[in-house]
Symmetry: C2
Subunit: 392 residues, 2 copies
């Protein structure tokens, strides 16, 4: 029996057509885009073309797109660019950031920075007013992710950027706003300029593109220098021979996914909505962010759902789902095996018992409600026996 | 007319068989290797297997292999890991390092480190005694590349590591030895443990593997923590969802190339040797490292040759070679368009006039002497006319 893959937030199955096209570019454009001969210039031309096409997708300027090895590198780049600053060594981040943002922030702390953590509310949302009241004259940067990778909560970036503008109007002090947009890009409408963010991290493999490729949007003039350097590629902003086939694949995946954001969103919402309805009929199931549907102003990505069946451990539930033919996860793949596994849920005020039992289900545009119904039925069938063993 | 690609040091044409195998892995192992479900564990298993196979190629332990996005990232990782140190903020590097090592060293300088530069001699070789005499009690790290990317000079790493051991015996102070092995790996025998280096940067695309993949060898216990962090991948040493298809391709390319190092070396030596003989019959041609063949103890990689025809500018020569069907470069692709283009040659004491005219020709195991003969003949035919225009 082949399993239904419900771990798209960890990595989306790569698009087969795009993989073919990546292979073609690998075969035909073999020169280094920085080489001065004709074959190098030909590769450079495609690279320029990729940058322009990506800029079009993002509604920004070509030179605001920096290709990287992934979302993790993009987040690290932004945080460690602050090491160039002699003053204003303070940052504000949300308490529910992905490890690739949270961990570098902890490193900055050890290197002498002050790091203020703004907690989320019970629905997993960061209140713009709490961001505003955490700012001071020494704050260099605020980082709030676009869509949380464990709960799907969408953050009010536009309001946060407005709060930062208010602060600037009052104090004259410009604070950079960075967003980890990895779980939002290709899933909800995303144009960095409209949200008012100064930088944004993107990843290819979350939207059907290749592994090991990502991008950093940087608004013109906002970050002049990153930490890593080398051969001056990417206008001196990101060094290393450009992974042209990978970059090309990322652009293709973006062009394929982003224009269909609304259409895909409707389908995902229908699939996830009916699954949530089925779960509601199971009294043992707790929707981790229970206010999900009720509370206005707390929007969620329909691609990610977090729920638990306490006191059953998340790992047990993952195994049971797998036996039933469904591949889900306990949370972020990036923290599934580590101590800070419950950091995000606990930051939202979720109890340890519920966090310990949490499951994350994440879908893509090609997963249908009918397929999810099988999982709800399987849970209904298996829960009584599991609870009996566990509490017996 | 299809051109002969002679810019392998910038990027080697990817191996078609390996590309097919990369595609297979992309198609079949779609899960995140950090995911806890079966598909994730299957991906993790191949990743473990890749690490063990790479360790076998390098003659080291599996946990000493860290996969990265390329040689540039590997070099940057090592240098910026030093930011964790409160004391001993001094490094010694050779004057002929690749930009991906030289530039981060300049950044460390701006961040308060002392950076000592040891120049090369006229043949492009770093004297181990000069390294030894540059050491002091505050020195944390020495970095000397294995094979220079512009001239092909092979550096005496074993002697340098012995000098560091001498220093340690006398002073009790352990100094780390890092080597950028990008142009040596797969070209000359390379086992980090035999050379006595503590870390080494490797790249996949220089040996027919995919772009955007590399590795860092780190001897057990030598570097505990790097700067970038995130999801704890690669035993916490390099964050970001693992690029499994790319890593797999890198391992295949290494396994294909490294066992043939001696055989390929003999062929390259024959091809390059006969080309050098042809160049010697052209009085206008200056072999940039002229002592190449005469001087004992100054070994060179047979894959890279640097020569000039002053006063003809390197760019002009690149264009003329291209007209004749040969793709060569002026130097490193990573510095071909930048101000520090002549840094390496000038560090060797090469005159500006000769550096300005420098051409780099770099071959792979599949380039034959007969093919290079055509370039020598073309140069012989075109030089008189070019010199006439240029000096006329």
């Amino acid at each position: 029996m082949s399993s239904l893959y419900l771990d798209w937030a960890a990595s989306a199955p790569p698009d087969p057509e795009i993989q073919e096209q990546i292979l073609q570019v690998s075969r035909t454009l073999v020169a280094n885009p920085s080489a001065v001969h004709g074959a190098g210039r030909e590769a450079e031309k495609l690279l320029d073309d990729c940058r322009q096409r990506m800029a079009k997708v993002l509604g920004c300027r070509a030179k605001e797109v920096v290709f990287t090895s992934g979302g993790t590198e993009s987040n690290n780049m932004v945080l460690f660019s602050l090491l160039h600053k002699k003053r204003d060594r303070r940052i504000v981040i949300s308490g529910i950031e992905h490890p690739s943002l949270y961990q570098p922030a902890q490193t900055l702390k050890r290197l002498g920075f002050e790091v203020a953590l703004v907690p989320a509310d019970a629905s997993g949302r960061i209140d713009p007013n709490r961001i505003l009241s955490s700012l001071d004259e020494r704050t260099a940067l605020v980082a709030v992710m676009l869509v949380n990778n464990e709960t799907g909560s969408i953050q009010p970036l536009a309001e946060i950027s407005e709060a930062l503008r208010d602060f600037q109007n009052r104090s004259g002090k410009k604070i950079l706003l960075h967003t980890d947009a990895v779980q939002g890009f290709g899933k909800i409408p995303f144009q960095p300029d409209l949200l008012g963010v100064d930088s944004a991290a993107l990843s290819a493999h979350k939207i059907g593109g290749p592994r090991g490729v990502g991008a950093l949007y940087v608004r013109t003039g906002r970050i002049q220098e990153f930490l890593y350097s080398g051969g001056g590629q990417e206008s001196g902003l990101r060094p290393g021979t450009e992974n042209l086939p990978g970059i090309y694949g990322f652009v293709l995946a973006s062009e394929k996914t982003c224009p269909r954001v609304s259409e895909n969103h409707r389908r995902a919402e229908a699939a996830m909505g009916s699954f949530i309805e089925e779960l509601r009929s199971l009294p043992e199931v707790i929707l981790t962010n229970g206010e999900r549907l009720e509370k206005a102003g707390a929007p969620f990505s329909p691609y990610i759902l977090n729920f638990s069946i306490p006191p059953l451990p998340g790992e047990l539930l993952v195994r049971v789902c797998e036996e039933e033919g469904f591949l889900v996860s306990t949370g972020s793949a990036c923290s599934s095996k580590k101590k800070d596994r419950f950091r995000v849920l606990e930051n939202m005020g979720i109890s340890q018992e519920i966090a310990f039992s949490a499951l994350r289900l994440s879908i893509g545009p090609r997963v249908a409600g009918l397929q999810l119904r099988g999982l709800a039925a399987a849970l209904k069938r298996r829960i009584p026996e599991l609870l009996k063993i566990s509490t017996g």
